[in-house]
Structure formats: structure tokens, C-alpha cells
């Protein structure tokens, strides 16, 4: 069984937003709806400054609070690690939106709080999510942690990584390369 995850090297991100729009095209989202975003952070004072950008999307947590609060079981975790939503079961209560500490859910036209799906239908065919494949700086690495030969497994073995908001106990499947 696969164990899908993503490794993000935020220090390589130069904020072009290709990831956002490639995802929007893939899933035919309207312009103002997006499944990934960039958080900008300026540090220091002129001229000793830094500009840091952190890409954020659904973390596909191993302990997803959005699933735990869902009253109908619409949000579920697939055995390969993907956190998905069954639109037929969703009653639009938005508990999941409130519970997510990363703020990644957005209501779609059918009133369902959608989010990044790790391109569920594509990755099982061995394809890369467009946010990964379009990135000129190769910020994101996507793959199977159970496959020791995968690029992500090899990189994870070499690099120090961290997760966002570890104190929330969500155990995200998105890892960030420590600077």
C-alpha cells in the first residue's frame, strides 16, 4: 500500500503562483477559488532583510481534525493517506472548515467545502499533481513514502524536515525542508 506525502522546500519558492493556477485549471475552479496559497513573510529591516514565502495546502493529516468533527463521515482518510470528501454525504455544516488549523477548505458551487485532493485520480496512474509538475523551481516533491526508491523517500532521508503547527497534533503528510 502506498503512503503518499509531499515535501516542500519553501526556500526555493519565488512566488510565481503557477501552482495555484495549474491546480485551478486541472480542477476547473473559478478564478477566486484555490486549493493552494502562498504565505508571505518579510523579516528584518532595510537593508538586512529577507522575504520568505511558504506554500500552504491541505496537509492530508494522519490525524485530521476535519475528519474528526465531520458529523456525517463525509470527510474520510483513504488508506494511502489522502484526506478526501464524499460530496454525497456532506451536509454543508462547515465544521471541517473551522476545525482545519491550516485554513485550506473552500466552499464550492455545490456548497461542499473542497480542498486540495492530492490529485487523487491522477496520482494512482503515476502522474504528478500539476502544482508539482509545473513548478519551475521544483519546490514540491510528491511521492510514496513506502517506496524507498521514490525521490521523496530519498530526500526525506537526507534532509531535516518539519511540519506546520505540530502542536496541533494533526501529523501532516506535508513536510517542509528545514532551512
Amino acid at each position: 500500500m502506498a503512503r503518499f506525502a509531499m515535501l516542500i522546500d519553501a526556500s526555493r519558492c519565488t512566488g510565481c503562483n503557477a501552482c495555484r493556477i495549474a491546480c485551478q485549471m486541472q480542477w476547473q475552479l473559478p478564478p477566486a477559488r484555490y486549493y493552494n496559497r502562498l504565505e508571505h513573510n518579510e523579516k528584518g529591516t532595510y537593508p538586512n532583510t529577507k522575504w520568505e514565502i511558504t506554500p500552504i495546502q491541505c496537509m492530508h493529516c494522519d490525524n485530521p481534525p476535519c475528519r474528526d468533527v465531520c458529523p456525517t463521515g463525509a470527510t474520510y482518510k483513504r488508506t494511502d493517506g489522502l484526506v478526501l470528501i464524499d460530496g454525497k454525504k456532506c451536509i454543508g455544516c462547515k465544521y471541517c472548515m473551522v476545525a482545519c488549523p491550516y485554513g485550506v477548505r473552500q466552499i464550492n458551487d455545490d456548497g461542499i467545502p473542497e480542498k486540495c485532493r492530492f490529485c487523487a485520480e491522477y496520482i494512482i496512474e503515476g502522474k504528478m499533481p500539476p502544482c508539482v509538475s509545473t513548478c519551475m523551481n521544483e519546490v514540491r516533491i510528491f511521492g510514496d513514502l513506502d517506496d524507498p526508491e521514490s525521490k521523496i523517500s530519498k530526500l526525506m532521508a537526507r534532509k531535516a524536515v518539519y511540519q506546520l503547527l505540530p502542536e496541533k497534533g494533526t501529523r501532516p503528510r506535508i513536510f517542509y525542508v528545514r532551512k
Binding site: 519565488t14 512566488g15 480542477w27 476547473q28 532595510y46 520568505e52 514565502i53 464550492n108 509545473t134 519551475m136
Partner: protein, 733 residues
Amino acid sequence: MVKISRRTFLKASALAGLASSLPLIMNFGDFTKAAELLPVTRIPTMCNGCSSTCSKYVYIKNGRVWKVEGNPIDLKSSGRLCARGHGMAADVYGLGRVTQPMKRGDDNTFEPISWGQALEEIGDKLYKIIDEHGGNSVMWLGHGGKEHYASTFLDEIGSSNYVTHYATCFSSKTNVWDRMVGTTLNSDFDNANYMLFVGRNFAGGIIPGAMNRITKAKERGAKIVVVDPRYCELAIIADEWVPIRPGTDLAFFLGIAHTLISEKLFDRSFIANYVYGFEEFWSANKDFTADKAAEITGIPADKIREIARDMAHNAPKAFLDSGYHGLHAHYANSTQIAMLNVVVNALLGNMFKVGGLMPGASISLGHVETPLRETPEKGPRADGAGVEEEYPTVEPGRGIPQIVPDLIKKGRVKALFIYHYNPLRTAPDPEYQKGLKDAELVVSIPVDWNETSLHTAHYILPESYYLERTEPPKVVSGFIAHDNPQISLRRQAIKPVHNTLPLLDMLKGITAAAGYYNLYPFTVEDEIKASVKPLGISPHVLMETGCIEFPANVKPGFPIKDGKPAVNTFTGKIEFSIGAFKLYGSPGVATWVPPLVMPQGEDEFRLIHGKQPWHSHHITSNNPYLMAISDMYNGTWAWMNKGRAEKLGIKNGDLVTISSEKAVKTVNVKVTELLHPDCVWIPSAYGGFSERLKTAYQQGINYNDFIPARVEPLSGTVMGQEVVVKVSKGGIS
């Protein structure tokens, strides 16, 4: 000249448009349903989100564009696309497109007309103008590209007036490199150990393949230094950001050159063997030390020396990137800046060397053979580019687009064709540019209702969108060193959504209607066939792959012929001294030239601009996807240094008024530590004022509003950042 019946041609070229009724946006449920049922086709083509024209694949579902992906063979995309590449693909269904030919009526509104009527009327008027004023009164003003269609027409009528947008963008670079090096050279990102970028933000004016190589170079330990008044996006991945007083880059380069020479760090054998005019350069700049450069630039002298020493230490696997828009059109000393770029790289001895600057691999395409035609002698260029008494050293192949309204006023231009170009928004002083309308015939050929078409065109002939047309192949080149030549091609991916035509069909119609028989006796398919004939490949292979790479034909080493240096200059060497400049009374070598203006008062700033990573030309600011990004990240805001803002009582997000002699505009301001105190920075894409482009309309401001239409005499550029603006808190009262 044989005048034939126009109607015969027009009948034969009756064309129909096809409108699609499917919505672009389906909801997620619809989409997955559709995805299950519909076959997807993948068509290779070329992007037009900017001028880099990356090769990409377009995925088509149910006859509609679904998504795009970079073509991994292509040097420019390297299989990856930026936001514009994705966004502008969706724009084929955009609401700003001109959907059929238009004619301006007496009441200044546009009336839709048929292609037959449009081409016939334009041809008729053109015939009369040429008859009365001669062919040289006709001007082709374009962004640049598809030169061969335009030049066929201009040659036939005897006009020398082919004018590009380049003087608003980078002509000091091309002018200088051609004269000093005989070609342009590209940064060898793959092999360099030290990269210096000055006023060149590859992460803003993006070439995905270049950024991919730069980040990989960093990964293997190459040092990256970015010198820029703004902490630009490229600085994010650089080892160091060195802020510089805007307008003083020339002094920085002179300081680098002085350090390299005075500390004997330069490549003496390269200079001795391959450079002409070194002594002349050095005797003119002996006194321009790093300390002097430090005074002018605000960069500490030690930092300037450190950069020079580090570069010399890493040479020849070190380069100063040759740059692009940032420094090569916007200062009174842009020509000298370009000259110093050549000087610094030559001092490093990095030219034609691995890890330094290398020529791009090229390959010769074939051409359709057409019967030889007798063409009239051409008159002098209306814009004076290359004309002895006017602008003798400006490249005639590029011209001076910003002064065309004057040329109309002077009676030099009677008929104006504006192709894929929007000078009312992308050239200085839009009010002045509105004078384009006063020509006897103004035909704009856009895809959208741009400002120029709306305010000046007598006829608007909408071109098919780039995804709706097939074009002859191009050699892939520019900015990235590569040993293997590539060609790529734009291929039609969908039927035209609206009643539009490709340029070739328009020109066939107009020229026939004006009486020029069979000027383009070929089809695009004929052109593709002829293009690839010498390469030994079939057109079919290119149509199926979109991009083809050929065996390497570039080797390092200075070009030598008969034992002598043989770059394409008078001496065959790199020329530090430009003979043509001397001939017309300017110094042959570059020395310090101060900027035209300098901000002085507490409320004064130099207004500078740059590309935002998700916008390129103004046209992208009417794209709802790209503008949604602007909305989310306050992309239209002007940037101001925090210390300066505090003195003026300005806080982040405040509305401010920015004024120059030309304009007074209001905009929100981003207060930041990421900008040099002397300037205000604005992104270049905004300031739309065409009511027909609803997404772009009145979003942000544009630097062109604040500057007059001027001409830098050596290279013809606009000097777009030679402007001091006053900034005050609050909107216009």
C-alpha cells in the same frame, strides 16, 4: 504594380467563425462527469503568455481548452510553465476579446462589419494613400514577431517603416552587443559557479527553464548575487541581495571594472587576444574607483571590491547576466550600462567559455521560395532610426515607437498598422499616444479590446488567439546557454471561438484589395514544409511533437577564422570602443553619465517598475485568473520603503497620491523593508483604461502615465525611469 479585381479575392476568402456555447467553468461535479465521458486530446503548441513563447501541450476536452503543460524538450519551459502560461490559455474564452472586425463610426462608436467589407475598405484606402503619398508613408508598428509577413508587404510598397516596441523594453542591449560583440551571448547557468544579476529578475520576467537552471545551480553550490533597488523575487533564492540606488547601475559596473583592472584580476590574455579598445577604455575610466562608485550607488566600496574579486576568483565560470528590460531602456545611461556589461564580462574572460557566456545554438530554417518581385526603392525611415541627421546609431531594424504621433503630425506617416501592440498603455504618455488616431488610416490587429484599438483604431481586425492558429516554426534561443539547437512551432489547438483570422489571411486580403497581386503565394502549411526541409525532418513530426532538438553544434572557444579573432565586428574582436558612436560625435568608450533626474525632497522618489511573476504584458491584467492573484496579494499596490513612508506619515495599505509633470494618480501603498529608500516601485502590468476590458479597467497605475515620450539619442530608448514623482498621503482631493 498590377491592380486586380479585389472582389475576386474576397469571394474566394469568405470565412466563417464558429462560436462555442459551452461555459468555461463547470462545477466540480459536472467536471468529473465530463471527464469520465470525454476523450482528451493533447496538442503541442507554443505559449503566448509572454514573449518567451515556451513550447507547451494543450489538453482539449470536448473541443474546449482544459489545461496546459510545459513541453519537457523545450529549452524555455523545460517542461514547466509559469502562472501566465496557464492563465492566458484560459483567456481564449476571455470576455475582452474582439469578436469580429470593427469599424469606427462618426459618433466614435464601433460598428461590427464583415471581413469582406473590412479588408476591401482598408485595401482601398491603402491604395489611395500609397498613390498620393507613396509607400513610405505606410508604417507597421508592432510588438515584434512575424516580421517576414510585414516586411514582404513593406518591401512591395517601398516602405522602410517597420517599427517594434523594443525601444520601450531593451534596445540599448541589442544595439550595444551587436556593435561590441557582433551577437548576444547567453548565461551558462548549468556550469557557472558565480552569477551576478543586476536589474534582471528572472523570477519576475520569468523564463521557467532559466529559473529551473538557476535553482539547480544554487543546489550544486553556485553563488548567486542580486543587485537591485528592490528585493525582487530572484533575491529570495540568492545568497545575497545588494540594494543599489536606482539609476546608478552604470557606476556600479564601472567600480567593478576598475577593481578588476587596478587589482590586475582581469583575464589579460583574453583582453590581449580578443579585445579592441581596452587602453582607450582604461584611460577614460582610470579615476572611477570602487570608492567613487560607492558614493554614487550607495553600495559600500568594500562590497563592490568583494563582488569583483569573487567574480575574478570564479572566472571564467562567473558571469554578469546580460540583462533585459530593467536596465536597457529606462535610463539616460542605458547605452553605457549595456557597454559596461560587455566590458565586465570580457574582463572576466568568460565569453565563449563553459560556465560563462556562450552563444545560443542555432540552426537555419528554410523558406518558401516565391517569385522575385520588382520592388520600389525605399524612402528614409520616418522615425529617423539609422538616419544620419536624426538618430544615426539607433538600430533601424527596431525603430523608435514612442514618437509615432509626432511622425503623423509631421505628415511622415499616413497609414498605420498596429500589430499585437498597445502603445497607449505600454509606451510613454498615453494622452500623447492618442495622437496615433490622426493618421489617415489606422488599423489595429489585436486579440483584445486594448486601449490603442479602442482609442485610436479606425478599423480593428481581430487576430485569432494563439491557440486558434498555426504558425511556421521558430528557432528556440535567447538568455539560456545551450549546445543543442531546437525548433518549435505553434499549432492550432481549437477552432476559432470568434470570427477572427490569422494575420497571414488578413494580409492576403488587404494587399490583394490594395492591388498587390498574389503577394503571399503560400499557406502556413507550405511555410512549415519549406522551413523544415533543410533539416531532414518531416513537417508531420514537428506538428506531432511541437519542439525538436538537434545534435549539439556549439563548442566553447572564441570564434577564429584564418587564425584571427572573428566575431561579427569590424576588427573581429570584442570592441570596447564603438566606431559608429565616435563617428557621430559621441565617445567610443563608455564613461560615467549621470542619470537625467535625481529625487531631492522628502516627498520625492524615482518611479521604477518591474514585472510581477504572474503578469507580463498589460494584456495579462485583463485575465480573471491572474487578476485574482493580484487581488489576493495586493498586487496592484505601489511599494515604498518603510523609513521613507514613516516620515511622510504613510502606513501600509494607505491610499497615496503620486504625481509627476505628466500625471496625478492614486494608489494603495505597500510599506516595506524590501525596497531602496530612493524609489517607489510599481508593477508594470496595470493601469488599464479600456472600458471594454472590464477585469483590467482602472486596476492599479502604470509608470507610462508619469513619463513624457523621450528618446535616448544613441539607442532610441524611452528612459522610462528617468522621472521623479512626489508622493503624498491620501487620494486626490
